[in-house]
Symmetry: C3
Subunit: 359 residues, 3 copies
């Protein structure tokens, strides 16, 4: 159990410690579930009604902590980042054991920085370079020539195919796969998708002349910027000739797919199960809601936001806010769904003719 | 090859063994593909026409097994659970080798119950507790303080981050990740999604004042009830302060995502690729069809059912049956799709004026 | 760094080497990013404007390579397969180390063909058979009785549950799971999805009589044809009594789910995050766009193509080209989306009465 004094936490948050600042807690909890070892989090009076058995709480400036029967409190403004800073201060950091485990296999040609930990059964291939202060979890595999900047946190079972490179402070959640082969196959004659596109779908397809799919190999690997995070079991495929790239500060949620040759910009969020087909370009500060899809080769500008499940099948200008299948401007999409519901109700209503109405 | 007598299987099903009850089979098969070592499954006369080379079959009560040229048969009513019970009786149980493999790494402080097997290269961290009769597959990793009840079946490469706890009889398919970090990031000033929400999408977004995403750490881990099953490569993220929770008897299919702080009730089914964003509450006996999405912070009542691909972007009352993007009551969704098809056909049809029609 | 002469590459492509055919390159690159060790790829004059620092390029027949200041070039017709063949010629093949690693665990009863490599910490179970020339990556697990044909390439952390069998030249990307349990559960009395279907959603569901889900075990495993590829973190579930099957030449992209009892035909492409529910039959040469969904028990003919995000909730005749939620013929789906946008605009426009208009 980790243990923190109220004074330590207050310092980390830039808040004021009041009461017994030497009191220790093992973590934080929402008001309703806080126990005696928790710092209850109640940043406004509405949450302070059920502080449970907590002896200490994070409260708003000026709160009457004595009246709440607390032994200690931290008074902090409810800033947008207060909870983030609190969790950072309290994070137990028990995901990685220190040191290089005896069973880890590190190729003699790999360069391992200072203060790097490597978990049991991890494999680090020839020519790999791991930056100082990095943590590599159990069962992770880093292929030949993989390069990670300083301070990486690579969780259990994450997979790096050869030659993936990343900047500083990369976080990869368990099971993510970086640098697998792109999904790129060609046929000798026109394929069914090409023929479907040509006809627009108005004609039934008959069997094509060639049916064998010939694989295009992926030579380009993946390049990740600084401060990138990749979610659990997400996948970022290698590019064909040049690397698939993800810019500084961009975060991928779980089960996200980024196809080969994509260029994703800086400070983007790709929420859970979003899928980006091959050769898509995405600008900076783009936030794609969960289960968003983007068709191949499209270009998405900067500062684009999509609602959950949006399907993008065209280029998107910077600043667009989109929703729907297929995507529209969000307000128009909502209007269209309302229109359809109204037209459906009208169609179901009993018809009233003018003469009936005048009776 | 496992081997079962007709008498044994009949006893397991509560059926009647007829003919040579000592005859052995190695498994069951659909009628068309059954070989001489299979129990053909033909629970109604329609399926009894092609028993192939089977010498034994599972038939309906009163079936003329001699006329079907069988050496033995089991006569059982076609109950809703008959096939489930049959498969349970015949399950080969070859997914786990017995005993604790010499290469498994179990921290000395972990408590391992009686009759637990642990596969090669599995890692069990400090303070973990594994209930009696559990099976831990090859390459599984269980972090510090993970607690599993009795009879768990943890398949190859499943990942438990620190402090995940589960009740009895947990099943985790290969590659699932329990307790990874939630996807929670804040900006110092209003972020693009917040600004998009405020404007409803009617205004183009310009670059925001701050673009760095500050991570909120996940301190709350995950708590799973009794009889939970998690599908292959699915992910259940850790909560921020309190645990993400999944209730007794709830089953997740493959590639399902459950976000941080979610509370999923009892006896739910979350079908393939369903995605639940953060802080969602789901009641009991809810069944979400494949690729269903639920936006963050929504509340879903008890006994809710969704069709495949339904996108839930609002709270849902108990008992609702939903379909569509965005979700509607299923009958209304179907009516709206029909309305749109009719209006589209009408729009495409050549226009006929009154005067034309009267000609 | 691998190294190839211009002559070698030209021979592999069936192209013409001109200039210094002994010049070596370490790989290929798009024109804009090519360095002195790259073969710049510029198969038409439009791409030849920015050959960067490349000393050699892949050009169209008759190109003036000297005028482009190159030392060497390969002249090749821009065939549909040229890029595929080029990447095959240049693929570095650094994903697998040769030989059987000392830490690999191979059951004594497994049969390993000639020239097979097995990576560190891989586990191969009893009775498994691995075809000649196969490559098994680090951390892969192959359960009891798994059978792979010759030339398999099984990347890191791929999971094969017992008795999966595959033909020749199988490729499995990292983290894929073949043969996990199907998602099949029954209740003793009518379940919520059954009751929802019966009512069409018009009635609210009340709690059902039985809520426990009884698992149907998966005895049937999976059978894969020749030349199959399974993407990173994709899942193919085991069948109940007979195997789930995937035909020759079919390729699955990343994070694709194929449910239990499915029969997928030959030469299909299932693009990223596509999800196929249980007991679906799919014909040959079917191409499903990314995030396509198929509801359970449906039958899809040959030569069907879907756009991204299509949701199939009915049987589909051969040759169909589909789009939309729920799926329609692609041209009709596009027409319906246009119709809805027009109707929505009309509804928003200020209403003009006849008398106003005549003013």
């Amino acid at each position: 159990m980790p243990s923190f004094t109220i004074a330590e936490i207050a310092a980390a948050l830039g808040g004021e410690a009041v009461g017994d600042a030497a009191l220790t807690v093992s973590g934080a909890a929402p008001p309703g579930t806080a126990g005696p070892d928790h710092l209850a989090v109640a940043l406004s009076p509405a949450f302070a009604k059920e502080l449970g058995r907590a002896r200490a709480a994070l409260l708003w400036p000026g709160a009457d902590w004595r009246g709440l029967r607390l032994k200690a409190a931290i008074l902090a403004p409810a800033g947008r980042l207060t909870l983030a800073h609190l969790t950072a201060a309290l994070a137990p950091d028990d995901a990685f054991a220190p040191g290089i485990h005896a069973t880890a296999l590190i190729d003699p040609s790999a360069e391992i920085g200072s203060d790097v930990s490597v978990g049991p059964f991890a494999v680090i291939g020839p020519g790999a370079r791991i930056g100082a202060g990095s943590r590599i979890g159990a069962h992770a595999s880093l292929g030949a020539g993989v390069t990670l900047g300083q301070g990486a946190r690579i969780h259990t079972g994450a997979r790096f195919q050869p030659r993936v490179s990343a900047g500083a402070r990369l976080i990869v959640q368990p099971g993510a796969v970086i640098g697998a082969d792109g999904f790129s196959f060609q046929t000798e004659t026109l394929s069914n998708p090409e023929r479907a596109k040509a006809s627009g779908g108005a004609e039934r397809l008959t069997p094509p002349d060639s049916e064998d799919w010939v694989k295009t190999e992926s030579l380009g690997s993946v390049i990740l910027g600084d401060d990138v995070e990749i979610g659990a079991n997400s996948t970022v495929d290698a590019g064909t000739l040049k690397p698939t790239s993800i810019g500084d500060g961009t975060k991928l949620d779980n089960l996200v797919h980024v196809g080969h040759n994509c260029e994703v910009g800086r400070h983007c969020l790709l929420c859970g199960q979003t899928g980006i087909a091959g050769s898509v370009t995405i600008g900076d500060r783009v936030v794609l809601g969960g289960q968003t899809g983007v068709g191949d080769h499209h270009r998405i500008g900067d500062d684009v936001v999509t609602g959950a499940g949006t399907m993008i099948l065209a280029n998107v200008p910077s600043g667009s806010v989109l929703l729907g299948y297929p995507s529209q401007r969000m307000d128009r999409a909502i209007a269209s769904y309302k229109t359809l519901r109204r037209l459906t109700r009208d169609a179901a209503a009993p018809r009233v003719s003018n003469s009936d109405a005048s009776d």
